[in-house]
Symmetry: C2
DNA sequence: CAATAGTTTAGAATAATTATAATATATAGT
DNA sequence: ACTATATATTATAATTATTCTAAACTATTG
């Protein structure tokens, strides 16, 4: 309850109208201890599980993209299939479990900072991210 | 001409039948000095430009995936929209130009090797890749 | 409260990719 | 070389992720 006022405030500060749907999605995304990595489908499923009311899929897309634009969420590319989003908006690296298709945050202390000795001329670096793909050790050796 | 025999051989060695379409795609992909980064659409366009005959889009998809499975191509994830492929199959990092949507190989000497101090328990690391997103320096400062 | 601008929604539209099933081709065995 | 078999190609349909549309709804401002 108190939390909801926080979300309404948060949305207002970002210039987003605190609609019922946006506040609900905030609750699902940000009322948690740990980072949440999800696809739009994951989120839509969670909404229909945890909520009595439905939110239109278009609204889920719109809201997630609105949050991304305002810096509440980050988009992570894993494959060409679908987009992952991340409630951890700091610069950080990921493990991607190819068995479970899960994204896991990499502890920043576990990787030394990356030094790029030569950038493309006339361009500015916007982000530097590592993706570590892992899989079960006992695999069928083709 | 001599090149084609190489491609036929290359395909045979990988257990792929050297069909007309596969050899043609080999020519387009591998008869070049520099790494080629492309989307299926890029490749399909090149095929229809450089060839007199058409190759069905399904065959382009099938062939690219067959080559990927055999290790002739690598898939690179940039965003959730579409897949990029890479004729440079060695482990390497990329710049992604957000203005032109171009992928550029990063010289291995320009980045020190990455040391991951803690892996996920019970999992084996399959790949470690950096994606450096760059954009024009003189941008609209929102 | 009324006006307005912004939001939600169902459903249509697009775009990337994959599946289907008929036809064609490559290859191994004769 | 001819035939049988497995595999590949193709046009087209189907699927999936995402975005668009336009009408109904709602938050904010005065
Ligand atoms: Mn997006
Ligand atoms: Mn693929
Ligand atoms: Zn993360
Ligand atoms: Zn490359």
């Amino acid at each position: 309850m108190t939390k909801n006022f926080n979300f309404i405030d948060k949305l207002r500060k970002a210039g987003l109208r605190p609609t019922k749907q946006r506040v609900k999605i905030c609750e699902i995304l940000f009322n948690r201890e740990k980072t949440f990595h999800f696809t739009i489908n994951d989120l839509a499923k969670k909404i229909s599980e945890e909520l009595n009311e439905k939110i239109s899929l278009a609204t889920v897309y719109n809201t997630v993209h609105a949050f991304e634009k305002k810096g509440y969420l980050k988009e992570i590319a894993i494959n060409g299939d679908k987009s992952y989003f991340d409630t951890n908006i700091t610069a950080h690296h990921h493990f991607y479990d190819e068995d479970t298709h899960e994204l896991i945050d990499c502890d920043q202390n576990d990787i030394d900072s990356i030094n790029i000795k030569n950038n493309i001329t006339g361009k500015k670096i916007n982000s530097v991210e590592i993706l570590i793909k892992v899989a079960s050790d006992n695999q069928n050796q083709n």
